[in-house]
Amino acid sequence: MEYLGLTLALFGAALASLLAGIGSAVGIGIAGESAAGVMTEDPDKFGSCLILQALPGTQGIYGLLIMFFALNKLGLLGGGEAALVTWNQGLQILASCMPVAFVGWYSAIWQGKTSAASIQMIAKKPEAMGKAIILPAMVETYAVLALLSSILMLMGVQLG
């Protein structure tokens, strides 16, 4: 029971990195399929396609960021001794990691789908690149809000 708090906190950090990372991988994969289809016919669109394909990758970075935050909070970065964490505090850290884990996971997949649609849009109308970026960027808003939620909640957790 001594390490239950730490385990719960690490579980939260792992989920933040894991789910957001999986979401980003799926999202980038979806957009990548679309980009490959367009580039087979028109290799000159590589630049535009790459930008749109990369958009769903940010959720994975947000997840990693929260994981670092959590590890830093637990004193596990820098080689020092781990902080003493009660099960209640561990649970608080786990809960703090959930917004970025789940919103990151789900939003990355949908952002990938929107990016894929935008890639198909620029295949026919290359001049609409600006609009094509805005559409998947709208999905990003909610991933950013989830990141902020996780950061604020983590900052609010008081370790003894």
Partner: protein, 331 residues
């Protein structure tokens, strides 16, 4: 390959479609050489091997190349089969009619065979003339002997053709259902309806009795052969109202006030053909809808049809305005 990849690739390929401005320029050409020169600047140019290449061959070569291209990346090749199936059945009809004529001492017309079908034309000729239909797909192994027996009883090539058409629609519907794509089943039904309505209009124009015409209508559409027969017994002006519950109603409403029946027939045929594209057009907004494959092929087919109209018009010095009216712009 996934449909996400395939649809994205098709979107990029759509940029190569010939636009309305090109057709306007093409129709304005004075000579066929001039028109072929314009065509040479498009994607069709690769098939122009010399000044004497017949334009039909150029158009067919592009359509065949498109099918071969799509075969490489479309996840389910059966989607291409549903597009090519009417060409196969048309080839069967050509071979059968040639065989009927040959029996009566006439000439074979195998020059009318299309290379667009999925079944090799030579194989098809050998199978039908050698009466070895067993290996033929889409239920042709049953339909061909049936068509033969109908012809032997009635000596009517038209009646034998109806047997083949009936099997075509049944096979298309079966394949669409097997593919489990709801939009495709609706499209096949729409195609059957469009065929029946087109036939009804042509038969009504030559004053065929509705009861006699009943045998010319096919099953499998949203409208039953009886519905279409009833339609024939009504005056043309009320067809729009009678079909108002279907997507065909609007086509007839728009043509209600026209008095020139020849022009109406021409416009209805054009609109019915365009409606086959319109009925699938919602797939345009779906990034991974398999229907987009068929939609692309139909658009390419429409482009080929428009090219044939424009080039025949230029080659024969026909009325440009008439040719412009025949052009279809379903997409």
């Amino acid at each position: 390959m996934s449909y996400m990849y395939a649809v994205a690739r098709l979107r990029a390929m759509e940029n190569r479609f010939l636009d309305a401005a090109f057709f306007t320029r093409l129709i304005e050409c004075v000579t066929l050489e001039e028109a072929l020169k314009s065509l040479g600047e498009t994607v069709y140019g690769q098939w122009i091997t010399g000044g004497a290449t017949p334009f039909d061959k150029i158009i067919d070569a592009e359509l065949i190349a498109t099918c071969k291209d799509l075969e490489q990346f479309v996840p389910d090749k059966r989607l291409l089969d549903i597009y090519r199936m009417p060409y196969d059945f048309n080839n069967v009809k050509v071979i059968l009619k040639s065989a009927f004529k040959a029996r009566e001492g006439g000439e074979r017309r195998h020059d009318l065979l299309s290379a667009m079908g999925a079944i090799d034309t030579e194989t098809l000729v050998l199978a039908i003339e050698g009466e070895e239909y067993g290996f033929l797909p889409y239920g042709l192994s049953d339909a061909i002997p049936h068509a033969w027996s109908v012809w032997e009883q009635t000596k009517s090539a038209r009646d034998a053709e109806l047997v083949i058409d009936e099997r075509l629609f049944a096979a298309m519907k079966k394949l669409a259902a097997a593919l489990n794509i709801p939009g495709l089943v609706r499209w096949v039904e729409h195609r059957v309806d469009a065929e029946n309505i087109g036939s009804a209009l042509r038969l009504a124009r030559i004053n065929i009795d509705p009861a006699t015409a009943r045998g010319y209508f096919h099953k499998g559409g949203a409208l039953s052969p009886d519905d279409v027969t009833r339609l024939m017994s009504e005056p043309f002006e009320s067809w729009g109202k009678s079909l108002s519950h279907t997507s065909f109603g609007a086509i007839f409403d728009a043509l209600q006030d026209r008095s020139d029946m020849q022009a109406v027939l021409c416009d209805v045929s054009k609109e019915l053909s365009a409606s086959l594209i319109v009925v699938l057009s919602s797939a345009h907004y779906k990034t991974e809808a398999p229907e987009n494959v068929l939609l692309y092929l139909l658009q390419k087919d429409e482009e080929a049809k428009n090219l044939r109209i424009a080039l025949v018009c230029v080659a024969n010095g026909l009325n440009r305005e008439f040719a412009r009216r025949l052009l279809s712009h379903g997409r």
